[in-house]
């Protein structure tokens, strides 16, 4: 599936690997269980490594591996299930993760701005997606009333101007 980054579609050069499947050459995303079990072997690979977290996973669980990871994927199994928002924020805020954070699953364009504010980099979107729907949604509301991970411009009181584009 394509990825949305900075409001534009781009192809995904990562491969998600089943737990039992052999590892390919290029960038690979594995489960946390596999990452734990094969940490050293995976670190020895000569290609970027990513992990996919289930919504139940607490970000602390992946913390020991973060310095070896280029990507963390989180998942919204349903658009209403917002656990990923807390995972994303914690990865950035508590664990200082600076790599790609990717939102997968059932994500709505209406959630794009909030995901960006929590610290997401890319969103996995269906083939037929019109990126304009996403950018329009991202750019509709440009004022926020609370601190987040994005670089906002402070206005008076609690308010800030969003600069997500």
């Amino acid at each position: 599936m394509p990825l949305l980054e900075d409001g534009r579609l781009r192809p995904d050069d990562w491969t998600s690997i089943e737990d039992e499947a052999p590892l390919p050459e290029g960038p690979a995303i594995v489960s946390l269980a596999r990452l734990r079990a094969e940490a050293d072997a995976l670190a020895g690979r000569n290609a970027p490594l990513g992990v996919a977290l289930s919504p139940e996973t607490q970000p602390e669980e992946v913390a020991p591996f973060l310095d070896r990871l280029a990507l963390v994927a989180v998942c919204l199994p349903k658009s209403k299930d917002g656990r990923a928002f807390t995972q994303i924020r914690a990865l950035r805020e508590h664990h200082g993760f600076t790599g790609e954070i990717r939102a997968t699953g059932h994500v709505l364009p209406d959630q794009y701005a909030m995901l960006l504010r929590c610290g997401v980099t890319t969103v996995e979107v269906p083939e037929s997606t019109d990126p304009a729907t996403w950018t329009r949604s991202r750019d509709t509301i440009r004022i926020a009333y609370q601190a987040a991970q994005s670089a906002d411009r402070p206005l008076s009181l609690l308010r800030r101007k969003l600069e997500l584009a």
């Binding site: 607490q58 658009s79 209403k80 299930d81 917002g82 656990r83 928002f85 807390t86 995972q87 924020r89 914690a90 805020e93 508590h94 709505l108 209406d110 959630q111 701005a113 909030m114 995901l115 504010r117 929590c118 729907t133 329009r136 949604s137 509709t140 509301i141 440009r142 004022i143 926020a144 009333y145 609370q146 601190a147 987040a148 206005l155 008076s156 009181l157 609690l158 308010r159």
Partner: protein
């Protein structure tokens, strides 16, 4: 209409250009979502949470639009506009709710954008009045007026409102989230039956801090909240709230709607929940979330005392009818020569919380003349004029009487809370409004009501408990028993400092016998009470036995 036509001294939070820009952007967003839904780009499942977060519910007969009245505070221009909306787009009525909001029960989907525009003209909206997000914060209807107030809760309620508005992390919670805050030692907001309850207080140095409770709630599993902390310093208020919400968002149940409220998580984790919040609070970069004293001061300025005149307290006129109204409706004010006035939206036989467009306009006019243009909505579905000169009380009473708003029953047995029940609500298992109306008619004699004294009856039309029946002295819950509406009675509930959940007294009563049962309970109380005892006091002293016997003993 704009802020220029607002009454100059009404202390509501005044929008500036930034807030207005935000509101316009939010309306534009919703308009876009409606268009995508109509074009089929959004499924109904995807659209539903989006419309709910804009206050739009689908009820039994029509859409209902629930409008936010932030912490129950209105100015007269806003109330007048609500009246206009009621007349133009509803059937001439609005319904004030226990969450200090207003609902229009006969909304047509195609009118919603125009209604939102009309609201925006007076800086109002329907944002986050529904959906699994942080809802309207409720507070004390006597804020800024009550003699026992230690901290003005409106300032922090407004800060919570702003902070929780479209919060990027907490808009897709497991379930709705309701915060109540009080600034007086006497809890008038039912803090302990909210997802988060906050008691603002001062330490010996006069600094503001907060006692924080979490995990209270009613619904099908009523629970009294757990105290998380005795003192959160003012500067750390938002940081601490973030910490509570983070733990809840990560761990709250999502697979079972009946177990998704924070109360279940707090109950299951117990002390561990507190520890998790504390741990999150300790490790977060607190500077980032610090609440600057300058911001508190700037928002606080919106709630500065209005220009009170230097007056003396004075005796009330002798008129007997006026005195009866005054005894029920007037409350002491911290400013000498002033009083707070509660306006009953519970006329005998009426629908609790309903107000007509004409009544809204009448109250707006009276508020302008007598209360600096300020109105409050109470969590028992009445209105309050917070700052009335005592010398104006008689004139005000006459004005209220002319508008059919002078029923002298505040705090008495006909001051009933009732949810919409089967008359409007798609989830109802029984009617609740007609029960309230019949009880009110049965006790129509106001002398008798005064003789009975303070007694709270709350009625819910199903187990979701929107009518707060668990925390009533006499709670009534309508349930469906093999196709028949029957009514369970709980006794001894309370929503104040001594919060308690009422106990089920015995088998349910039919629609035709429930009012008699209430009458029996009252007769039993009157027969057993000692001087000065309220219903709840007698119940607590004697327990359920005499009431049970009176209700169920074979005749």
């Amino acid at each position: 209409m704009n802020a220029l036509t607002y009454p100059p001294h009404a202390r509501t939070y005044r929008y500036d250009e930034i807030d207005r820009e935000f509101l316009q952007e939010r309306i534009a967003e919703f308009r876009g979502q409606v268009e995508r839904r109509l074009k089929g780009e959004l499924t109904e499942d995807e659209f539903k949470p989006l419309r709910l977060m804009n206050g739009l519910y689908l009820q039994l007969h029509a859409y209902m639009l629930r409008i936010a009245i932030p912490y129950g505070l209105l100015n007269s221009a806003q109330l007048r506009q609500l009246g206009r909306i009621a007349r133009r787009w509803d059937r001439g009525f609005g319904h004030f709710t226990t969450r200090q909001n207003i609902q229009f029960n006969w909304t047509r989907l195609e009118d919603v954008p125009a209604m939102l525009e009309a609201l925006a003209e007076v800086d109002m909206h329907a944002i986050q009045t529904s959906g699994n997000c942080i809802r309207n914060t409720t507070t004390d209807e006597y804020a800024g007026a009550s003699p026992d107030e230690v901290v003005d809760p409106r300032v922090y309620a407004e800060i919570l409102r702003q902070w929780s508005t479209l919060h990027p992390e907490f808009t897709w919670l497991p379930r709705k989230f309701k915060i109540a805050i009080t600034g007086s030692p006497h809890d008038r907001v039912a803090a302990q039956v909210h997802d988060v309850g906050v008691l603002a207080k001062r330490n010996a140095r006069g600094e503001v801090g907060f006692e924080v409770y979490a995990g209270g709630g009613l619904g099908r599993t009523p629970i009294i909240a757990r105290k998380l902390r005795d003192w959160v310093p003012e500067a750390e208020f938002l940081a601490y709230m973030e910490a509570v919400l983070r733990v809840y968002n990560a761990l709250g149940q999502r697979d079972n709607i009946y177990k998704a409220r924070i109360k279940i998580l707090v109950r299951d984790l117990g002390a561990e929940f507190t520890q998790m919040v504390e741990r999150e609070y300790e490790r977060m970069p607190r500077d980032k979330y610090r609440l600057d004293p300058e911001i508190v001061a700037a928002i606080g300025a919106h709630f500065a005392p209005p220009p009170f005149a230097a007056l003396q307290d004075q005796p009330l006129p002798e008129d007997r009818e006026f005195r009866a109204w005054a005894a029920a409706s007037i409350r002491a004010h911290k400013q000498p020569g002033y009083a707070s006035v509660t306006i009953s939206l519970k006329p005998i036989g009426g629908i609790p919380g309903d107000a007509s467009a004409d009544q809204m306009e009448a109250v707006a006019d009276l508020a302008e003349r007598h209360s600096f243009g300020e109105i409050r909505v109470t969590h028992v579905q009445n209105l309050v004029l917070p700052h009335v000169r005592q010398e104006d009380l008689f004139t005000l009473w006459q004005g209220l009487r002319a508008a059919g708003l002078a029923t002298p029953n505040i705090g008495l047995i006909s001051d009933i809370i009732a949810c919409p029940g089967m008359d409007y609500c798609a989830l109802a298992t029984a009617r609740s409004i007609p029960i309230a109306q019949q009880i009110s008619e049965r006790f129509a004699d106001l002398d008798r009501q005064h003789a009975i004294g303070e007694c709270f009856i709350n009625i819910s039309g199903c187990i979701n408990a929107c009518g707060h029946h668990h925390v009533a002295h006499i709670g009534i819950l309508g349930v469906d028993k093999r196709g028949e509406e029957v009514y369970q009675i709980t006794l001894g509930g309370s929503a104040t400092n001594d919060a308690s959940i009422g106990e089920l007294i015995g088998p349910a009563f039919s629609y035709d016998t429930i009012v008699d049962a209430v009458e029996t309970l009252i007769a039993t109380y009157v027969a057993h009470r000692t001087a000065g005892e309220r219903f709840i006091d007698t119940y607590r002293r004697l327990g359920a036995a005499p009431f049970k016997e009176a209700l169920y003993a074979p005749a």
